[in-house]
């Protein structure tokens, strides 16, 4: 058993907790913080003045007028000064953004998909180039406190190694270390699975705010899943769990990128939809949106394709609901369009295949963060160091670009 925490540890914990409250709610008065954290106002004052001195938050008079009495000062995050780099590596696009404390997107760059996405070097140098451009454009008094990347593939979180990405064809690529070396900012690059990060982001800032049991399904070229059970992300022994896109829903069905047949992503993913609709050419969300649009205008082939894919998606959702009994299933990426275009099929299948008790209260929602879900997740990953130990991380973060 561990001895009681030292006063220093308690202070660090309190600083982190306070900063997290301000980070997630955007602003909070001292009185609200005292109530939420269960601390007295003088402790809150001491903590906020430490964080203010470090340049992480600032205090100001509230803007709303009205109630009688001396107004409680409002604590706001220093969004434009303290930021992280968030990177999103999807199968068909790369996004890099500078995101300020409090979750404000300060600047973003959409790198085009590199000519050869199967070459890790090309992807890393494209990302590093974009990131350095954003950092250079930032004001000199700003500080980067972390770097996080969302990757569509199976990732070992401790060291940022991409174990497998069927849609990019990567196996055991030391992506995080390589990217960190190229950026040369003296900061660790944390890498996470995009759907897992999307799930966390939706739970902290999106449709699933405050829910402890939530499944986020992210549609890219494949389908990724982030499963939150009892308030914790389901990882499994190696942290590779939650790959719901490779749950077999149709044995002997379409061939999947992973080598198996009839996986959920092979039957309900973007490629299945494009194929079923008889479309050729590049995929991506524009192609999916075009099919939903055509179906709405009465194109029979597009409508049938959407219905078929929606039915398979319903099979997947029904399985997940039966196994995990989530409070909510959130559809993100291209699955947002597919769900809204084929909700009748998805829900009908859920009504038929879902167990009554497991499905009776489940809510199906589209991602509230939309395109930003995985990017915001990457930002939250990058912020996790500064939120755990604000002052120490800030000292480490003061490394300008070489």
């Amino acid at each position: 058993m561990k001895a009681a925490p030292s006063p220093e540890e308690i202070r660090r914990h309190n600083l982190g907790t306070l900063l997290r409250h301000v980070h997630l709610s955007g602003q909070a008065s001292r009185a609200e913080l005292a109530e939420r954290m269960g601390l007295n106002r003088s402790t809150i004052m001491a903590l906020t003045s430490d964080l203010t001195a470090a340049g992480l938050v600032r205090e100001e008079l509230p803007r709303t007028r009205g109630r009688a009495g001396r107004p409680s000062l409002v604590v706001r995050p220093e969004s434009s000064r303290v930021y992280v780099l968030a990177l999103d590596v999807g199968a068909d696009r790369l996004t890099v953004a500078r995101i300020g404390l409090g979750g404000v997107v300060l600047a973003r760059g959409n790198a085009p998909r590199p000519p050869d996405p199967f070459d890790p070097d090309a992807v890393v140098s494209e990302l590093a180039g974009q990131a350095r451009r954003l950092v250079r454009a930032a004001r000199p008094d700003t500080v980067c406190v972390g770097i996080g990347a969302a990757f569509s593939g199976i990732v070992r979180q401790e060291d940022g190694v991409v174990r497998l990405s069927p849609n990019l064809g990567w196996t055991d690529v030391p992506f995080g270390a390589e990217l960190g070396r190229r950026l040369g900012m003296g900061l660790r690059v944390s890498v996470g699975n995009d759907a897992n990060l999307g799930a966390l982001a939706e739970r902290e800032r999106g449709a699933g705010a405050g829910l402890d049991d939530l499944i986020y399904l992210h549609g890219d070229v494949g389908i990724g899943g982030g499963v939150i059970v009892g308030g914790r992300l389901l990882g499994g022994e190696g942290g590779y769990g939650g790959e719901v896109g490779h749950m077999v829903v149709n044995p002997g069905g379409r061939l999947c990128g992973c080598g198996s047949r009839g996986c959920l992503e092979a039957e309900a993913g973007e490629l299945a939809l494009l194929d079923a609709a008889g479309r050729r050419g590049p995929g991506g969300r524009e192609a999916v949106a075009a099919i939903v649009d055509a179906a709405d205008r009465g194109d029979v082939a597009a409508r049938d394709a959407l219905h078929r894919v929606g039915d398979w998606l319903g099979h997947g959702v029904a399985n997940l609901v039966n196994i995990f009994n989530p409070a909510m299933v959130v559809f993100g990426g291209v699955l947002r369009d597919i769900y809204l275009g084929a909700a009748a099929q998805v829900r009908s299948r859920l009504a038929l295949a879902g167990l009554g008790a497991a499905r009776e209260r489940v809510r199906l929602r589209t991602s509230e963060l939309g395109e930003e879900a995985t990017l915001m997740g990457a930002a939250e990953l990058a912020f996790s160091d500064v939120l755990a130990d604000p002052l120490e991380t800030l000292v480490r973060g003061k490394n300008p670009l070489p």
Binding site: V292, D296, R336, S348, G354
Partner: protein
């Protein structure tokens, strides 16, 4: 109600509503309930009585007979109310967004949202306060598509107009918002935005009634489906318990399996089941 029902029951409960226009009886003994925090989809074929029912709720048509119960406070007891005019409905917190939206093209968003109910400070209009409330309401609904609240409505797209009309309805601390075919004339991207907005209204605790012909929209956002068939309520069911085919049957023949009206003389033979 089952244990899964929200703690406080329906905000509006109608029982045995009858309504005739001269010799034509449009609503027969209709029961209908609307729950807070939920989207209740009202579906039915053309002429099934959807619009008449909604107009009875909104006080435009007086009901001939039946009970109209309204829960004035969350958790309170439902009390019988007499809703004889749209003003009486608005006083209870019931707002209806009609298909034609009833927005004025030559006014801006703020002017439209406060039309006829302007905020005043002394004898002049309190433009600052109205602008602030309008912006706050739109932000509260996570509407990011509208650039400025001083934009003229004529310059807005169909989806943005629908958004403004819905925001206008929720501005007044309303408790029930009834939307008549909100996605009817919209493209796919705008339909998606409006559907997500409808869902957000309910998630904020409002009771939402959605009239729609589009089964997909109904399944995408509703918690309950009420199907009208020739002026009778065929069934009011939870969306998670029914399939697309069953709802289509309820609409076209008034019954599906054990659901629906007893003793309709089976002109629907369940071919799609």
């Amino acid at each position: 109600m089952t244990a899964s029902a929200p703690p406080d029951g329906p905000v509006i409960e109608l029982r045995g509503i009858n309504k005739s226009f001269g010799p034509v009886q449009v609503l027969h003994d209709v029961a209908f309930s609307v729950h807070p925090g939920e989207v209740t989809a009202l579906v039915g074929d053309n002429g099934a009585g959807k619009s008449t029912l909604v107009k009875c709720i909104g006080g435009i048509h007086p009901i001939d007979s039946g009970e109209y119960l309204f829960r004035k406070e969350p958790g309170g007891e439902p009390v019988p109310v007499h809703v004889g005019s749209p003003r009486a409905a608005a006083a209870l917190g019931i707002e209806i967004v009609y298909q034609d939206l009833a927005l004025c093209d030559n006014l801006d968003i703020v002017q439209n949202m406060f039309l006829g109910r302007e905020e005043k400070s002394g004898i002049v209009l309190d433009e600052y306060e109205m602008e602030r409330k309008a912006a706050e309401t739109l932000a509260g609904l996570s509407v990011r598509t509208v650039k400025s609240v001083r934009q003229q409505v004529a310059s807005l797209s169909g989806g943005q107009r629908q958004t403004v009309a819905i925001a206008k309805a929720v501005l007044w601390n309303s408790r029930v918002v009834i939307l008549d075919e909100p996605t009817a004339a919209l493209g796919v991207a705008q339909t998606q935005q409006v559907l997500e907005l409808v869902r957000r209204l309910a998630d904020k605790g409002l009771a939402v009634v959605l009239i729609s012909h589009n089964m997909n929209d109904v399944f995408a956002v509703s918690d309950r489906i009420a199907a009208l068939y020739l002026g009778q309520m065929a069934a009011q069911v939870k969306t998670c318990d029914v399939t697309h085919a069953q709802v289509v049957e309820l609409i076209t023949s008034g019954r599906s399996g054990d659901l629906g009206l007893a003793g309709t003389n089976g002109n629907g033979n369940g071919a799609r089941a």
